[in-house]
Amino acid sequence: MSLGTAGLGARVVPHPYRLTRPFRDSLSAGSRNLIAYWRVPSLLVFSTIQPIIFVLMFRYVFGGVVGLAGLIPYPYVDYLMPGIFVQTTVFGAIGTSIGLATDLQSGLLERFRSLPMSRSAVLAGRTLADLVRNVFVAALMVGMGFAVGFRIRAGVPGLIAAMLLVLFFGYALSWVFASVGLMTGDPETAQAAAFPVMAPLVFASSAFVPVTAMPGWLQAFAAHQPVSVTVTAVRALCVGGPTATSVLEAIAWSIGILVVFGPLAVLRYRRAA
C-alpha cells in the first residue's frame, strides 16, 4: 500500500455528511472517554468511592445529631440521599476538568484541532460520556441509599423525575468544569482549581443540613445557589409535597449554566494551546 496522498487536493471536496458532522464527531470523541472509564476504573473513584463514604459518614456519624435537632420532619436518610445524588454529580464533574487538562497537556487537543472535525465535538463528546457515567453512578447511589434505609416517599415517577433533574444538572456542571480544565492546562492545577469552585457549592448548601441551621449571612448564599436549589427540587420530588416552583427554579439554573458555560468552554477550546 502507499503511505502517501491520494493526489493533491483529492479530498478538498466538502464531505457529503457535513450537516451530521458535529453529531458523528461528538460520538467518536465521547466513545474515547467511555473506553477510558472502562479501562481505567480508577477514573471513577471521584464519582463512586467518595459518595459511598459520604453516605456512610453522614448517615451514621452526623445523621444522629442532625436528626436530633428536630429540623427535619422525616428520617434523616430520606433528607440526605437527594443531597448525595446532587453532590455526587458535582464531585464527578471534577473528572471533566482533570480529563480535559490532561488532554491539553499531552498535545491530544492540538491534534484534534488540526483535524477537520467539529469545533465543539471534543467537549460535546466529553460531556456526553460524563452523562453516561452519571447515569451509572446515579443508579449506584440509589442502590446504596436503599441499602442504608432510604425510602421513596413520593412514588417511582417522582424518583425518576428527580434523577432526570440530577442528570441534567450534572450535564450543565460538566461544561463549567470543562472550562476550568481548559483554563488551567495541567491536571494537578485543574484539580486544585476545581476544588474551591466545588466545595462551597456542595457544603454551603442544603445538601446535608437545612440552611436554617446556618448563620444568617451564609443562609442568603446557601439558599439560592444552584446546588441547594437543585437539591430542594430533587428532595421535593422524592419526599412529596409541592414541586412545581422548586423544579422550575432548578431547571432554570441548569439552563442558565449551560447558556453561559457552553459557549465559554467552546471558546476556550478554540483558543487553548
Binding site: Y17, V40, E110, S114, L115, P116
Partner: protein
C-alpha cells in the same frame, strides 16, 4: 506550479517573547522542507500556525492556496500533523487511536479501519495494535503519532522534530517513509535540530534563530558555506591556542576560530587540512590536548551565520523553554 505552502511576514508574539518575527518562505509541492533551529527559535510556533492551531498576529500563510486563518476548515482536510509530543490517547489501543483519528478526519468508518491496520503494519506496530498505548515504549508512541498524521493521506504533512527520541533503526525507517511520502506526491515540512537530518531529507532548508530566518538555501549550499568537515583542536592553555590559531591560519590558508583554549577549522577538504594541521603543530612543538574531526552540526551553522553558539543563544534570550505551550 503554485507553492504547496506559502508563508508571508508571519508574526506571533507570546507575553514578552517574539516567538515568530516576520518569517517568509515558500515550499514547492512534492518536496521536503526543513526548518532548522535550536529550541525557542520559533519552529514549533510556525508549525502550529500552519496547522490552524494558532492564529498569527500578523502576516499570512497558505496551504495549497488556502489561507490557514480564513479557510482553516479546508486546510484541515489537507494536512497531517505530528507534533513535538506524541498526541495519542494512552487508554486507547494503537488501532483505536488511528481509527479515531481517521473518523475525526471524516473518513468513512471502514476506510478508517483499513487504513489504521495498514499503517500499523507499515510502522511495525501490528503486534501491539490491540494494546493500550500507555504500555508502549517512547519510540512506539512516536511512530504511532506519525502514523496518525498520515491516516487521511494528507497532501501536506507537518512533522515537528519527528525523530527526537527515536533509536537509530526507527529513525532510518522514518526517514525512508518520509522519502516515500514525497515520492507519492506529498509535501513535507519538518522541523529539526539536526543538520544531518535536514541534509539527508530536505530539498531546502531555512535556518531560524530567535524567530527570524537567518539563512535559506539547499542543504548542500549551506554545508559548502561552512565546509564538510570541522576540525576541533583543544590546547593546554590560551597562549598555546593563540599560537596554534596563527600557525594553522598560515599553514592551511583558512581562518581559524579560537574560543578560549579551543581552535576550530571548517573546510571542504578535511583530509588536507588535517594533514597540514598535524604537520604544522608538530614542526612548532605545539602538542594539542585533543583533536577531533567531525561533520558540521547545527551549532557550527549557527557559529558561522551568527557568530554565536546555539546554547548561548538560548540562555541569552531566556527562551530555552522554547515551545512555550500556551
Amino acid at each position: 506550479m503554485e507553492s504547496a505552502i506559502e508563508v508571508e511576514g508571519l508574526v506571533k508574539h507570546f507575553a514578552q517573547v517574539h516567538a515568530v518575527d516576520g518569517v517568509s518562505f515558500d515550499v514547492a509541492p512534492g518536496t521536503v522542507f526543513g526548518l532548522l533551529g535550536p529550541n525557542g527559535s520559533g519552529k514549533t510556533t510556525i508549525v502550529r500556525i500552519l496547522s490552524t492551531i494558532l492564529r498569527p498576529d500578523a502576516g499570512s500563510a497558505r496551504v495549497l492556496g488556502r489561507d490557514v486563518v480564513h479557510r482553516a476548515d479546508e486546510v484541515r482536510y489537507l494536512i497531517g500533523l505530528a507534533g513535538q509530543f506524541a498526541a495519542i490517547d494512552p487508554n486507547l489501543t494503537g488501532a483505536e487511536n488511528l481509527r479515531l483519528t481517521g473518523r475525526l478526519a471524516q473518513l468513512p468508518g471502514k476506510v478508517a479501519r483499513t487504513r489504521a491496520y495498514d499503517l500499523l503494519d507499515r510502522f511495525e506496530l501490528r503486534d501491539a495494535a490491540d494494546r493500550p498505548t500507555r504500555t508502549y515504549s517512547g519510540g512506539m508512541r512516536r511512530r504511532l503519532d506519525v502514523a496518525a498524521a498520515l491516516v487521511q493521506r494528507p497532501p501536506v504533512v507537518f512533522l515537528d522534530e519527528p525523530t527526537t527520541g527515536l533509536d537509530l533503526h526507527s529513525r532510518n525507517e522514518l526517514w525512508d517513509m518520509i522519502r516515500e511520502l514525497v515520492a507519492d506526491g506529498a509535501t513535507v515540512l519538518l522541523t529539526t535540530q539536526y543538520l544531518e537530518e535536514a541534509d539527508r531529507l530536505a530539498d531546502r532548508v531555512v535556518v531560524m534563530s530567535e524567530g527570524r530566518v537567518i539563512a535559506s538555501d539547499t542543504p548542500a549550499a549551506l554545508k559548502s558555506q561552512l565546509g564538510n568537515t570541522v576540525l576541533e583542536i583543544s590546547l593546554n592553555n590560551e597562549a598555546e591556542a593563540v599560537l596554534a590559531a596563527r600557525l594553522l591560519a598560515e599553514a592551511t590558508g583558512i581562518t581559524a576560530d579560537r574560543e578560549g583554549t579551543v581552535v576550530r577549522l571548517s573546510s571542504a577538504d578535511g583530509t588536507r587540512v588535517l594533514l597540514e594541521t598535524v604537520r604544522s603543530l608538530n614542526e612548532n612543538d605545539v602538542a594539542p590536548a585533543t583533536l577531533t574531526v567531525r561533520e558540521p552540526s547545527l551549532d557550527d551553522v549557527f557559529l558561522a551565520l551568527t557568530g554565536k553558539h546555539t546554547t548561548a543563544d538560548e540562555t541569552d534570550t531566556g527562551t530555552s523553554a522554547g515551545r512555550s505551550r500556551r
